[in-house]
Subunit: 649 residues, 2 copies
């Protein structure tokens, strides 16, 4: 138990304080803009928007209102995700008003729970006789999973266990229905989620059966004959959502046992949530076979199927992975939730084994593919995150109809906004990991971590302008001298760095992406880390057909893009010279303050080409000044073209 | 009348003899392979294939069989297109057996005609009370048009007028139902076709009202309120094919009056057939406003929305044009029938005004985008003609599912194979145009044209290895010395050429793409034309985003491509040096004898890239020998990658 307890894990959210800076700013946006808006949305109070009906469903199921169920079959999960995000916010920012709302919702949820522990407003209100008959298509266990996550978060944040008791009863019911024992259903969810939630519940309550049930759901998955076929036959061939069957069992990663899976396939969010649970269980139980499956899936996902932005799921059809190196920039899906799932997974992989690679991808997805999902003001969201947009084509071409040319206020299927909310509301937990005698810094952002080392209070405080600057100051304060190891991540994008301890240069070597400083820390020690952060060119693997001959630009963790508003129309005509230097410049008044890259390039000229499509001479080139902005900040200045990859030559 | 009669028109098919060579070979394929296969298909005699039911529908409607209508609502048109192609074949190749089959089919068609002249097996058998109530979606006038075309062809070829009388009764019925007079319907077809057919019927019979009806259908189209809405309301909002309405009125070019249309839009085949009729009517009536609309639409189609191969219709959704410069290579539709329609239209534009531009596009579409639709053996067909294929992506990606990785034997909607058949069976008519005292050669291919100039028999015979060689010998033989003008097209792709007349170099200048030799021709004169035919690089307009930075190769009228079988996997990794020379070499044993282009290029190397997607160095380049084959010949050696455009650098 000692050994287990000394495994590296996320810092408790309560132990982390954000103090201004980039990530804190996004977290504040979520608190101040996203959650209040979402609260209105859940209560059907957004004028002109389709009503969510999510809270009303609970009110009806609780018997305090009448009417019919409304919204998606998984509408309950919106309430759960809101509650989870609220819990994280309350952890750092006491807010009696908000807590009152949350407590009222929890009371409603409790009232909506049936006497046997069952909790799902769709089945309660619409098909009470059909419980547990369509795991594939009806998100019953998915909704349960989100409510469990909310309950654990609320309990850890407020100490209140009312919702935790609700979801424990629900989990007990699920445990009584599913499992290897005779008479139990041998099923598993059509949308993975409950597995990672049960793991959280196990960690929060110490109840082992929740871990066992999570592992059962993982191990049962993909056995032959396929459970989704079995229950389909049992239902007499009826479907709630026929598309599910048309996608095939790989859509929900149920095409083979999870331990045998080596390639990311199917619906990207389902995949990420499942891989999260696999990593959790592998780390907790020391299950090396499961850990190996995680590593194989990680390699395939991040080395064969991931966009430069940390976007994943290149196919709109099924919001899914397609196959190795198939990474079209303009027709991709790259769901915001999938990149969020990648952050979740990477975070768990770090706790399976501390390797910089995991943190690099976590940071890449966070700063690019996730953040692009939310507008600068926090009021609008992208579901789809392309790397190239030609608005006319999105408007005209059916095969690009999913690529929206501006962020939307809300969605009928509103999974992305609350998912962004719960991630940024809990971002502190992603910055640090801790063990009994270790602290590790994964992300650099103004914040401080409080921990206890052998009974002594230790504070680790960062001060930095990251991601705009690579300079990070870390102050370690100890109640009394304390011996522990401090891990500092050296980002994969960084080729040169220096670390000073109390003004003295520290000669260190990073191992697996981390510099570990193991010493007795005094009452106050100061570290100064300087990560060199030049503008970098990035080249694509030659197998990525859509990027062949092109180059992208990155600085620190940020991927850059050009927008029409800065560079005119037809970004594909821009050619960046192989030796053209782009200068980085922080512009406080732009997009809330961003570092832009600017320099001289060329552009294929339309001179002589107005009236023909093809010709025997290469178009002339004319000088062009170009300006790039961080990818995450695109589309905050109106509709226009955007591109990440450029011709080099 | 004399002036009209002296307008340039297609040579009569009977006046042209093909004598071996490239086009004759394709024509023979159609005769020997396509039509017999199609005959079996129409009679449901292809084992394993979905039955066509097309002949059986006529048998049932004729009362000689019983059963239910089968196939598409426009299934009749397959029979008509087969009859039309058979007529063309019989014109040059008497074949009593084939003619017997055709006569039997015609007898059946006659029997299926109702007493008032109505002819359409779907409505006769399935919805006899719904005639003329759903022009938009049910192809009633479209099928009539194809049968009229067949009848005119059969009459001109065999002299037999049985089918001509059938379709004249049908046209008379249509004329009694539609028109500006009170009590008549103010409609027009949902799929244009009858307009150009009525024009042919007018030319064959001299009956003016058919021309007037054709013009009526053109001029009525796109008036407001839209007729398709009117008949939809009349039907009480029922639809046979709801997708039609979802596409909007521009799908069938009914969004505005045709004379006001300046941009190609909507379903590409519908557009082409309509533009054909517009050109016919404009040329025949001297209607300059209509001619101007044709010219504007021509410019937009060929200078903004056409692939290098003469493919048109870049959107799978609606098999339609999208918008200017939107020309993706790997997701395009480029229906074979649309390129055939472009050949039809270009041919008619040549008779509106003799400009090489029209013949250039006619030749480009014919030798590339049309011919690619048929396999080397004539047994398999492409509906969709992409310029870039990655088979794994076509198999995996839903947005490329329409791009087949190999030609198919037949289609449920079998419009392309019979359309190829009728085009190549009548290809002689596209080679020459004539007027009273003029002959014009548009296409170069072994053939001879017989004509009568002021009562004297004249023969113009070509001998050439075109398109493999630019050397063409033309012998002009006259019964007695005859004064007439002989026009020789100088292809747009040719920058240098020489013409010798009886061994003497002729100093000439082409005007509008044609050299006109106006002289008294002796009993035998010999012309030798040498079109310089080097390998040419073709560059795309900078607005074509998908081709930016790329180059294509052309030699003579042929566009070239690389295939995986010659060049290995991942064609996108190939980089052709700016100065790399590609040598042309005729390989008799390859693909039935083709000229290949071969040379040295480079290829981005996978060295060091097996395990990562992105890196900070441009991939190394390694030497690569490349071989290109004519685009039309691709996919005759198994499934594999193909590409027309290559990185240059």
């Amino acid at each position: 138990m000692g050994e287990l307890r000394n495994r590296l894990g996320s810092a408790a959210l309560k132990a982390v304080t954000l103090r201004g800076g980039f990530l804190a700013g996004k977290s504040a946006l979520v608190r101040d803009r996203v959650l209040p808006y979402q609260w209105k949305a859940l209560n059907d109070e957004i004028p002109g928007a389709e009503p969510s009906h999510a809270i009303e469903n609970f009110r009806i199921a609780a018997g305090v209102s009448t009417g019919k169920f409304g919204g998606m079959v998984f509408q309950d999960s919106d309430v759960a995700k809101w509650l989870e995000a609220v819990a994280y916010v309350l952890s750092a920012n006491p807010d009696p008003e908000l807590e009152k709302h949350a407590d009222a919702v929890i009371e409603l949820v409790e009232k909506a729970q049936q006497s046997d522990g069952y909790l799902n407003t769709y089945f309660t209100l619409v098909e009470p006789d059909k419980k547990w008959t369509n795991l594939a298509e009806c998100h019953e266990l998915y909704c349960a999973g989100h409510m469990i996550e909310a309950a654990v978060a609320y309990y850890e944040s407020t100490g209140k266990d009312r919702l935790l008791r609700v979801v424990s009863r629900l989990a007990d019911l699920v445990d009584s229905k599913f499992g290897p024992e005779p008479g139990k259903l041998k099923g598993y969810p059509g949308h993975q989620e409950i597995e990672l939630a049960l793991f959280k519940l196990y960690r929060a309550t110490g109840t082992r059966k929740y871990l066992d049930l999570a592992r059962y759901f993982l191990d049962e998955r993909g056995k032959s004959p396929n459970y989704f076929d079995i229950e389909y036959e049992k239902r007499g061939g009826s479907s709630y959502w026929p598309l599910f069957r048309s996608f095939g069992s790989s859509y929900a990663q149920a095409h083979m046992p999870v331990r045998e899976q080596t390639a990311a396939i199917g619906h990207a969010v389902r995949a990420m949530y499942m891989y999260c649970a696999m990593a959790d269980v592998a780390a907790e139980t020391g299950d090396e076979a499961l850990a190996d499956a995680c590593r194989a899936l990680w390699k395939n996902t991040t080395r064969k199927q991931m966009y430069l932005t940390g976007g994943i799921g290149s196919s709109e059809h099924g919001q899914a992975f397609s196959f190795d190196y198939d990474l079209p920039n303009d027709t991709t899906y790259n769901e915001t939730c999938a990149s969020i799932g990648l952050v979740f997974w990477a975070h768990r992989m770090l706790h399976l084994e501390l390797r910089g690679e995991y943190a690099d991808i976590m940071e890449r997805a966070l700063y690019n593919g996730v953040l692009s999902g939310m507008s600068q003001t926090g009021g609008e969201f992208f579901y789809v995150n392309p790397l190239e947009v030609w608005p006319e084509a999105c408007d005209s071409r059916h095969d690009k109809r999913h690529v929206k040319t501006s962020r939307q206020k809300w969605f009928g299927c509103a999974c992305c906004p609350p998912n962004i909310a719960r991630l940024f509301a809990s971002i502190g937990a992603y910055i640090y990991s801790t063990a009994l005698d270790r602290a590790v810094v994964h992300l650099y952002s103004n914040s401080s971590l409080s921990m206890d080392v052998g009974g002594k209070a230790v504070t680790i405080s960062q001060e930095t302008n990251y991601p705009w600057s690579g300079l990070v100051r870390i102050a370690v304060g100890c109640e009394a001298a304390a011996k522990f190891s401090l891990g500092l991540r050296v980002p994969g994008w960084c080729r040169k760095y220096s670390i000073k301890l109390n003004g003295q240069r520290l000669e260190t070597r990073a191992s697996e992406g981390y510099v570990l400083i193991d010493r007795a820390w005094g009452p106050r020690d100061e570290l100064e880390i300087d990560f060199d952060m030049p503008v970098e060119r990035v080249y694509p693997n030659p197998q990525i057909r859509e990027d062949a001959g092109k180059v992208a630009f990155q600085r620190g963790p940020l991927v850059y893009c050009m927008e029409e508003i800065d560079n005119g129309k037809n970004l594909s005509s821009i050619i960046v010279g192989k030796d053209a230097g782009l200068a980085a410049d922080f512009v406080p008044a732009l997009l809330g303050g961003v570092t832009v890259l600017a320099g001289e390039a060329r552009r294929a000229s339309m001179e002589g080409w107005q009236d023909r499509l093809y010709g025997s001479e290469d178009p002339k080139r004319e000088a062009a000044s170009v300006r790039l902005v961080p990818y995450f900040a695109w589309n905050n200045r109106g509709v226009g073209e955007m591109s990440v990859w450029f011709r080099e030559g």
